[in-house]
């Protein structure tokens, strides 16, 4: 369950270190490699979007059509008019909203406990949090299903929300804890002396300072909950209760796959994540704590 966000702090590699790495030719080589990797990553996305706009004949043409020369929106209208689209959009939004909101609140409190309080078994708990992430999700499908069935939570959005929280929380707690440890203790102490309660100091001083952490973890929670397929597929039976990813699977039937509408649906499904990320990424400003203490 690693996240692309984990690599974010590397963005700050000093320019000097980069410059030192050989002359012009060396730089050209690295740039070419970078472009190649970029092309590799972006191609499937491009193909999805391009296919969404292609006519059926172009999709199945023997020589690949690299660009939709005669773009059409019929795939999109087809996808949107499939049964349960809007119901499933709503379900996905509810699930994602709840998972993001709950995970932020719960992870903030849990990380607070782990970062700022000493209690018996703290270390073991921290290790456990990482350990839990090592278990493959597929191994958990049946146990989770059984537990939720006993609690009467199968085929209910709440069951899926709880399941997603169990995946998302370990990472978010772990990440937020890291951010909290980075905030000097004196800041809370200063706030306490200035007249805040301990919790008041957390909310007024610590919370704003771990903003970048909250953004990072909320993006993670959003992506996890929005893109998850297997658990939703297993837990949600009724078509009107399913999420968008499960809805996408309905394009593949015994009679074949409707590629055009499927790609259109996939494009639509990917949109919210992209929009959410673009809206929130500016807030990932590392180094916000600069100036708190000496230096």
């Amino acid at each position: 369950m690693s996240s692309p966000l984990a690599g974010a702090p590397l963005a700050g590699v000093p320019a000097r270190a980069r410059r030192r790495r050989g002359g012009r030719r060396g730089r050209l080589g690295w740039n070419a490699l970078g472009l190649a990797v970029f092309a590799l990553i972006i191609f499937p996305v491009y193909w999805m979007i391009a296919t969404a706009f292609k006519r059926g004949s172009d999709i199945f043409a023997d020589t690949p059509v690299w660009f939709p020369i005669h773009p059409t929106l019929s795939n999109f209208t087809d996808a949107i008019h499939r049964p349960h689209f809007w119901a499933d959009v709503k379900n996905s939004l509810i699930i994602v909203g709840c998972v993001v909101a709950l995970s932020l609140v719960l992870a903030f409190l849990a990380a607070l406990a782990l970062a700022k309080f000493r209690f018996y078994g703290r270390k073991a708990f921290i290790v456990l949090i990482i350990g839990v992430q090592m278990i493959p999700l597929n191994a958990l499908i049946i146990p989770i299903y059984l537990v939720l069935a006993k609690a009467n939570q199968v085929d209910k959005l709440s069951g899926v929300i709880i399941t997603y929280l169990t995946f998302v929380l370990p990472f978010t707690v772990w990440t937020l804890r890291g951010f909290m440890i980075g905030v000097p203790r004196e800041l809370e102490e200063a706030a306490q002396v200035d007249g805040s309660t301990r919790f008041g100091a957390f909310v007024r001083v610590l919370l704003p300072l771990i903003g970048p952490g909250l953004v990072a973890t909320s993006i993670f929670a959003f992506i996890q909950a929005w893109n998850e397929f297997i658990m939703a597929y297993v837990l949600l039976h009724s078509p009107e209760k399913q999420t968008l990813t499960v809805w996408l699977a309905s394009f593949t039937t015994n009679r074949g796959t409707a590629w055009g509408p499927l790609m259109a649906g996939a494009t639509l499904t990917a949109l919210p994540v992209v929009i959410f990320f673009v809206a929130i990424q500016r807030k990932i400003a590392f180094g916000l704590t600069a100036g708190a203490v000496r230096g």
Partner: protein
């Protein structure tokens, strides 16, 4: 500028009664400390790192739980009160400014969380900013301030609340040397102006001596001596205090009292009958401040003299420091000073004495020098316990009145 006049609120004396702090694992950080700090007094807690001074301050602030004893501020016992209920303000070594707030918000934070009326809060922040010369910086964030400016904001945040007491934890130690001297003077001025009870922690004895109306020297969690800077310097009750206070440090050497003479190395110095330990013929730790020496030529006639061989001569302009070996066992005291004090890094068993003499005396390495010494300025300490063997002169336990004190600074 009305509210900067002398406080008229309730008394804000601070009383520590048998205060102890034992950390988990049994480490005793503060050991049975009793100290009375008068209303409006400026008391400095000084000692080497790890002596418990910061822990003691944090206990007064309420940031550290008290393991034993009682703490009172004013007439109220605060031992178990939360920091916010103690009406104190603290200045941290790291300044601890809120990075996400502007200078204005930083200074006003305490007023805001205490729900001071908005107009009043705005006025007070403006007044403090004027007092500290921060008017033009009010909308900046801490990241865009220099070290000295951050320090002033930290001070402003404390002042604006008009607390019963200021607690300062090495507030100047992150500034460069020049700025520190200026800030030290400002702090003294500020205290004269506000008259707020202040407890100040430092490891720097110069800061302690120049700022404190009284100075408490701590070691291993205990207060060794609380006194005015002058008495601390001239009447140390403990060999550690003697070694800790003063630059260059007091010369300490193992000596034997033989009748009316003190013997150390190859020297025999007649004692001043007025100032000598009570017992005859015994081992003592002899302490001589560098300024008790003088070039023989300019000394009064009849003063005991020593023939020495200077090993190092430091010309400082105003005076000269002459270091010379003395053939006697060096008294090693871990005063824990690494930053502002001279330590030696040469391994030597022999004591190296320092003398502060008139720079006009032509002292040079390798040329024998005759120094006179004033036995009336000798200090004697018990070899075992380190306690002074001189009778304590009637102690002025009461702090000096303010007027005298500011003159003394």
């Amino acid at each position: 500028m009305l509210f900067f006049r002398v406080r008229q609120g309730d008394m804000a004396n601070i009383t520590l009664e048998n205060v102890s702090k034992i950390f988990p694992g049994g480490i005793v950080a503060v050991d049975d400390v009793t100290l009375e700090i008068a209303d409006g007094e400026f008391v400095v807690l000084v000692g080497p790192s790890g002596c418990g001074k910061s822990t003691l301050l944090r206990m007064i602030a309420g940031l550290e739980e008290v393991s034993g004893g009682r703490i009172s501020i004013g007439s109220e016992e605060v031992t178990d009160l939360a920091p916010r209920s103690r009406d104190i303000a603290m200045v941290f070594q790291s300044y601890a400014l809120y990075p996400h707030m502007t200078v204005r918000q930083n200074i006003g934070y305490g007023l805001k969380v205490r729900r001071a009326p908005k107009d009043e809060a705005r006025r007070r922040v403006a007044e403090v900013a004027e007092l500290l010369g921060l008017e033009d910086l009010l909308d900046r964030r801490p990241a865009h301030l220099s070290g000295g400016q951050r320090q002033r904001v930290a001070m402003g945040r404390a002042i604006v609340r008009e607390p019963k007491a200021f607690l300062m934890d090495e507030p100047l130690s992150n500034l460069d040397a020049k700025l520190r001297v200026g800030m030290r003077a400002s702090l003294a001025q500020l205290h004269t102006r506000l008259g707020t009870t202040t407890v100040y922690v430092t490891h720097d004895q110069t800061e302690a001596m120049t700022l404190g109306q009284r100075v408490a020297v701590l070691r291993d969690g205990r207060i060794l001596q609380v006194d005015t800077p002058q008495r601390l310097y001239h009447e140390p009750r403990d060999v550690f205090v003697a070694a800790f206070i003063g630059t260059p440090a007091m010369n300490l050497v193992e000596a034997t009292i033989d009748g009316d003479d003190a013997l150390f190395g190859r020297f025999r110095i007649p004692l001043d009958p007025e100032r000598r330990p009570a017992l005859d013929h015994r081992k003592v730790t002899l302490g001589i401040r560098p300024e008790a020496f003088e070039a023989a030529a300019s000394a009064p006639a009849g003063a005991p003299t020593l023939e020495v061989a200077p090993a190092v001569v430091e010309e400082l302009g105003s005076d000269a420091h002459v270091f010379f070996p003395v053939d006697a066992k060096r008294i090693g005291l871990d005063t824990g000073l690494t930053q502002d004090d001279e330590g030696t890094f040469l391994a030597q068993e022999e004591a190296l004495f320092s003398a502060r003499i008139d720079p006009r005396v032509d002292a040079a390495v390798g040329r024998p020098l005759t120094l006179a010494v004033d036995p009336a300025r000798f200090h004697f300490f018990d070899v075992e316990s380190g306690i002074s063997l001189l009778p304590a002169t009637p102690a002025a336990t009461e702090p000096l009145p303010n007027e005298l004190q500011s003159a003394a600074r």
